[in-house]
Amino acid sequence: MNYIGIDIGSTASKVCILKEGEAPMFKVLPTGWNSKITAGIIREELEKLEGGLSACKTIATGYGRISVEYADSVVTEITCHGRGGYEMIGRDCTIIDIGGQDTKYIDVKGGRTVDFLMNDKCAAGTGKFIEVMANRLGLTIDELFDLARHGNPLPISSLCTVFAESEVINYMGEGREREDIAAGVIDSVALKVATLVQRKALQDTVIVTGGLSGNEFFASVLSGKLGRTVIPMPDGRYAGAYGAALIAKERDR
């Protein structure tokens, strides 16, 4: 039996294939404009596996989870990230998941999500914020991070992405250094994430999952804001899909 986790996020769709006795396999593809089409592409891939779809137990998660019509069940991304993140680090932890359209705090004990918090209907402190600012500066996200490492952060205080963009435009108009603006953008995201998660108690182990999970620079900036070490997870973007696959496996017993 293959255990499949499919995480249809707002920006990227992640798939985890779990076979008995093997390391998990991860795949990623852009979600695009139609989650159903994306789910169909994934289905074609799964049918190529030995035994086809009928040899798969599948759990869908992420905001597009209802579009995966062939899934055996759906579980929210919060529970899945908790399960997957726990498996990746191997101990109780606080997970900070930075997604394309939201940021989550997830408190995990024994692999189970015991508490969580999400930001409120706003792009502040999410991947979308970084994307918007990178576009404004004419950079890719990777380039933005590369520049930010060498800059002195300029303050970007607005909580609203649209207004924050105006602040960036002002800095551009003043002729400020691009690396300083880039550093300001990253600093601002980290500050907003820290403000959100500090409403709750943090465990000794804090990890980052989601699109920025492998980014050591971001983890170090966030560590500074939280006053404790935040561990970047290289495969952290797959935490949701991995968790879904693990739950599929557990439910099969």
Partner: protein
């Protein structure tokens, strides 16, 4: 329905705009209520009232006014209906639970005002609610700054009396609230031309006590492990409580409860396997069924509401032993000041209430709802969450408004919360 159109026209309503509101109601009723399985038969009365919400009761109010009767529009669980009906008036809630009225209110109010207050002004000034047209006077209360200021604007278009609700609960505040109720009684006497006698007030105290007792009976039935009725259906009943004829309403709730007694005996469960949820927080005025609908389609069932459209409306009775008008008024004041609204400081009683209700109704978790920009409940949510954590009760805080724009995000959170309760 043709008669309704004539009535609405005579009431000076904006018919074209009101038709838009009427057009969406059947679909909403179908999605929220009729889609539920295994509903009690005697929900039929409440379904009927809802289906013709702007027709049935308004027609009664029109008839009442044609005979010289006076209608008092109210907005809050603190306004004592006993006094109004003792003077021969009718008290009707002026609900403000639809996004439909919000843009109308935004013409007058700052963007960061709660949707309830915006809808209140929109319903009045857009002329799209018959109840707002039928009230001869509005009775407001100082339960928040937003309402206080909005009443000043409403008062430019309709006679308005604002009751000064104290914000603390010391003995002198209870006395002051009794004075405010005495003022309301004088205003009601003046407007209706009827004298309130001790006999009359004693009789009406019993009428409203009976109404509260019926609602308490309904809620007690929800304490059963097997839910005999959904939270969505119960919410509708609580909403109708604000504007239906009190004696008929009491009778209908009791008839429903007889059926629910039988359901409990038969072991009927409208939500087998669902997690039991207590909703606490801000009021849900008709037709705001958003949170109940989300929760009850996410593997959970709402078994109690600690809201103004829930326990805050009916818990505790007015002592019926008063003999003089003054005694009765003080007894009324004492009962209403027992309501624990976030406009009071300190408000320890509310934390105790939520924890007590969570235990009484054997809930798996609490969802604390805050209507966007309701500052008092929002700030109080922090302490409430701490108290619940200390008591070992899981809680999820949700801030929302009347729009559907955040429905899928909220559904994700509620589903995740339910998963943590598994």
């Amino acid at each position: 329905m043709a008669d309704n159109q004539k009535m609405w026209g005579d009431l000076g309503m904006n018919l074209e705009m009101h038709d838009q509101l009427c057009a969406v109601l059947p679909g909403a009723i179908g999605d929220v209520f009729m889609s539920q399985e295994n509903r009690p038969e005697h929900m039929d009365y409440f379904d009927m009232v809802l289906a013709d919400v702007h027709g049935l009761r308004p027609a009664e109010l029109v008839e009442f006014r044609e005979k010289g009767g006076k209608v008092f529009g109210t907005f809050c669980a603190y306004v004592p209906d006993e006094v109004i009906i003792a003077a021969g008036g009718i008290a009707t809630g002026l609900c403000a639970g639809s996004q439909f009225w919000v843009p109308g209110g935004e013409r007058y109010l700052p963007a960061n005002t709660c949707p309830l207050i915006k809808a209140m002004l929109g319903a009045r000034f857009d002329r799209t609610c018959p109840f707002y047209r039928l009230a001869d006077i509005y009775i407001g209360e100082t339960t928040c700054d937003g309402k206080k200021k909005a009443y000043e604007i409403l008062g430019t278009d309709v006679p308005m009396h604002v009751m000064d609700l104290p914000q603390m609960k010391r003995p002198k505040d209870l006395k002051k609230w009794a004075e405010e109720i005495k003022d309301l009684l004088a205003i009601a006497e003046d407007l209706t031309g009827n004298k309130v006698t001790p006999e009359k007030l004693a009789e009406k105290i019993k009428v409203i006590n009976a109404k509260r007792a019926a609602l308490q009976r309904l809620y007690d039935l929800r304490k059963n492990e097997k839910a005999p009725i959904s939270g969505t259906d119960t919410l509708l009943i609580s909403q109708i409580a604000y504007y239906d004829d009190p004696e008929r309403f009491t009778k209908m709730v009791n008839i429903l409860c007889d059926e629910l007694d039988q359901r409990v005996a038969d072991g009927v469960d409208v939500a087998p396997g669902a997690k039991r949820i207590l909703l606490s927080g801000t009021p849900m005025a008709i037709p705001n069924w958003k949170m109940h609908n989300i929760v009850e389609t996410s593997g959970a069932v709402v078994v109690c509401e600690e809201t103004c459209t829930g326990t805050r409306y009916f818990e505790n009775q007015v002592d019926e032993s008063g003999e003089t008008l003054d005694d009765m008024i003080q007894n009324i004041a004492d009962r209403y000041m027992g309501i624990n609204c976030a406009c009071f400081t300190p408000n320890e009683g509310r934390f105790d209430d939520v924890i007590r209700l969570a235990k009484e109704y054997k809930v798996d978790g609490v969802i604390d709802i805050n209507l966007k920009f309701c500052q008092t409940y929002d700030i109080e949510g922090y302490t409430l969450e701490q108290r619940l954590n200390e008591a070992g009760i899981k809680v999820l805080g949700i801030e929302t408004d009347y729009t559907d724009s955040d429905a899928s995000q909220i559904k994700t959170r509620v589903e995740a919360f339910v998963e943590t309760l598994a």
